[in-house]
Subunit: 157 residues, 2 copies
């Protein structure tokens, strides 16, 4: 199973980049893992919030394959504990998915069509984080989940 992290927006900010690169590298010991950054549409500034989300949805859909398992990060989703997340990833692997995708939407969230396509919606916290920090938190948590599945020392509850 491959793990992909998709995020709408710019390259990683300097203040999170090293951590993201490091945790993603560590995840690669368990699953093939990589980031795909989806650049916002060039005319984004001239679009309404709704139009922007539609345009971003088109870019996301162009990359999505039918059998991808899509996990949307959204504050309206359900929360996990870290062991829950580990269990969740194991279940996806057991179901023989080729790819699971963790998707961080754009500045205004995602279009309704993407929310409906999502197989799971996950809320990291009741707090709102900047997207760059969400990328770092996400890569750390997925690494932690992998280490829990292998019974390694990184996580202690």
């Amino acid at each position: 199973m491959k793990i992909q992290f998709w995020s709408v927006g710019k390259q990683h900010d300097a203040y999170v980049k090293d951590g993201i690169v490091d945790f993603t590298k560590r995840i690669n010991k368990y699953f093939s893992a990589e980031w795909m950054l989806i650049a916002a549409p060039k005319n984004a500034a001239s679009l309404t919030e709704k139009e922007l989300k539609k345009a971003e949805a088109a870019l996301i859909n162009a990359q999505l394959q039918k059998d991808d398992y899509l996990i949307l990060l959204d504050e309206r989703g359900k929360s996990f504990t870290s062991p829950d997340l580990a269990q969740f990833i194991q279940q996806r692997a057991n179901e023989s998915h080729k790819r699971i995708i963790f998707l961080i939407g754009g500045a205004f969230g995602v279009d309704e069509t993407i929310a409906k396509r999502a197989d799971h919606v996950w809320s990291l916290s009741t707090l709102v984080f900047p997207h760059m920090l969400v990328r770092l938190i996400l890569s750390e948590q997925v690494y932690r989940a992998c280490s829990i599945l292998r019974n390694e020392k990184y996580h202690h509850s």
Copy 2:
């Protein structure tokens, strides 16, 4: 009102340092804010979990003043939304506290005496984060809270 961030452990890891320094600087436009890192006891490796927490508690107590408002970060605490946190900080300012302290405990949490001394216990998330990442998340959230109180653009819900 002064805001202090206390954390038991080493200097900031490289992968979070720039972000912590930047957000803390930004908080300083609203409140005087600084970090105090409390080095773990030198004989930490030879102590049991309970002894270590007792030793750390002594170091924390040595710095605490009677009228400090102490907010302990602990997964067993209550969660905030980001606007809740802003409101909470405003209320502390209204009550004319000289210092509010956000305390991140050691590797095994804090001794019961510190938990009892805490005026508030805050859980960032149902997820477990590494302490270094908690420092970054905390400084970003307190900056966000300040920007909410000033009605600035940084936060949009």
